[in-house]
């Protein structure tokens, strides 16, 4: 069964009074649990827009988005925020962390936003840190960590609520090759353990590590077989 499915999804932007600009043109896309999916494409091709829609950070202009069998109602902000909190974990190129805060605060943030008590959030965050191999860094400030360590913190935060989908936007973009590879290996392992991992990347070597590859061009997507 598909964990997520996009049907004829279109996304347009209105810039000034000109005709709407199409970022996505009738995209059909689906992913199953346990898949690691790479999405590639040149800059401006629409891959980040697609990831934002899958991640419920942005709304679609037309089409339908089903997540875990349910249609996503983009008009309901609380519903959308709850999906981001419970079902999706994000890993960003620039890590997306509160740099002046502690690792523990960063990892616990989704739990706190999800109404988990502070004490319980701390325990769960430590457990996620162990899974990401950074429990020894738990009480350190993020700004004192290396790029690879920061990305592991981001991964720990992404998995702390045990979401079904992990979205990674250029997760290796700010890392050296070896560290980047370790991070992608971690993400792929997560997919092997049952999660759906979608990685937007320019890097072919990263894409090759995934179970499926897609290429997006001029707002249209095709699978690379």
């Amino acid at each position: 069964m598909n964990i997520l499915e996009l049907k004829s999804v279109t996304k347009t932007y209105n810039i000034g009074s000109e005709k709407p600009v199409y970022a996505l043109k009738g995209i059909d896309f689906a992913a199953k649990s346990g898949e690691s999916i790479a999405i590639q494409g040149v800059s401006g091709s629409g891959k980040s827009t697609l990831l934002n829609i899958i991640g419920c950070l942005d709304s679609l202009t037309s089409g339908e988005y089903y997540l875990d069998g349910e249609k996503v109602q983009f008009s309901n902000n609380k519903h959308i925020a709850k999906i981001r909190n419970k079902k999706i974990g994000f890993v960003l190129q620039n890590f997306g962390l509160l740099n002046d805060r502690y690792v523990s605060d960063n990892i616990a943030l989704p739990l706190l936003l999800g109404n988990i008590s502070i004490g319980k959030a701390d325990k769960l965050a430590l457990s996620a840190a162990k899974s990401a191999g950074i429990d020894q860094l738990y009480d350190k400030k993020v700004k004192k960590l290396s790029g690879g360590e920061m990305q592991r913190v981001a991964i720990a935060r992404a998995i702390v609520t045990d979401p079904e989908i992990i979205l990674a936007d250029e997760p290796t973009g700010s890392l050296d090759k070896a560290t980047g590879r370790q991070i992608v290996e971690m993400l792929v392992q997560m997919a092997q353990s049952g999660k759906t991992v979608i990685i937007v990347t320019h890097d072919d070597s990263v894409a090759e590590m995934c179970s499926r590859r897609f290429y997006i061009e001029d707002g249209q997507i095709r699978e690379v077989i």
């Binding site: 950070l57 942005d58 902000n77 981001r84 509160l98 109404n115 935060r157």
Partner: protein, 433 residues
Amino acid sequence: MKFSNLLFISMFRFKKNAFGYLLACIEIFIIVILLIYVLSTIRYYNIPINTLEKVESSRLINYTYNSMDKSQDELIAAITNVEEYAKTSTDISRIGRSGTLHISILKDGVEDKNLETFYGIANTDNPDQIEMYSTGGALAYDPLIAEKFPLTLEKGEQLKDYKADEGCVPAILHSKFINTFDIGDIFTIRLQWTEIYSSEEYKISYADVNVQVAGFLNKSNYHTEIGAGGSFFTADMLVTNEFPCEMIILHDDNAPFPVDGYTYMSPTVLIEVSEQEGALENVINELSPTGFATPLGNVIDDSIYMLKQQTAEPIINLIILIIVAAAAIGGINGMNQISQKKDFAVYFICGATWGECIKTDILRNVLIISVPAVLSGLLSFFLLRSLPSNVLSIWDFVSAVGVVTAIYLISSLWYIISLKRMKPADSVKEWEN
């Protein structure tokens, strides 16, 4: 989201920069202390303005005699002249006097130095030092003045309302006695006055009087002098460090002390005219040659005008201070909020709604401002209270903290309105750039 979680997240940024936060505290402290000073100065003038505005002044004439330029003999003659005229004129219905007397509080028949009220009785053997008497005293009101000029009390009853025990004179005490005496307490004061006074000769007389505490003056003391064309002092204005009256006592013709005595110093005569047409003009015309006879309404209007003139400077200072405070606090706030805005992207990807981002921001602002504002306010309040001129009230502190908090919250609100509603995707995009 649970409030505890919201508070916890709000404190992420709150705890961010200890040095910056310390600087903000110092800045807020300076602003609060200046605000307390300016607001208390404005209130210093506004309370007598409010008091004077409430005085029913129609059919009343204020009569004063410039005792600074004349001998006491001439002063006595002038006051006597007014009283003689009042007895014969159908234009006058009542006449009342107020004046000051030197006093000491007696305990077991001797002055009680612990109460620090008496400054010169020991000098009776050495009349050359009589000027020392001008450092302390009591203000005597008769019923007409007590009725027309109610006092601003911390607690207790007005002189005109208080029913003192037989043989006692009701008294409103300076607020410094509030922990020494209770309402209803009776104690003895020694009044003294110069029975004969000229540049060459004077004789000091005494009378011991039992007074009963009717109330205590408001903790804030005010002093101002109303000049041109007549003068009037409200009791609140007289009870001050510059002129430390210890109490205001009520007298009437049955008072157990000679009421003429106190007319020799700083006398004010209040004359109530009858309802006959032209009575006010008649009395003024009759008395003007011997002193300043002026409709009380004019005196009060002049007084209020002068007080408002004196208020102008602190009001301008307040406006300048608020502008400076708005710029300074807005600056701190703006810098914090630029950082906070970046954090919104992180909150969004972790599952926050726009409302939760804003709530976090507002709560953080409240935390940032309220802790230093309250601490600075308290510190400023006690610092200023320790100064000799003890004119502060809790409202100065509350107002100053309130102004700072309002400036901070308004600047926060301004920022939030300017943010409009940011989409999570735009926020993330902005953050990544």
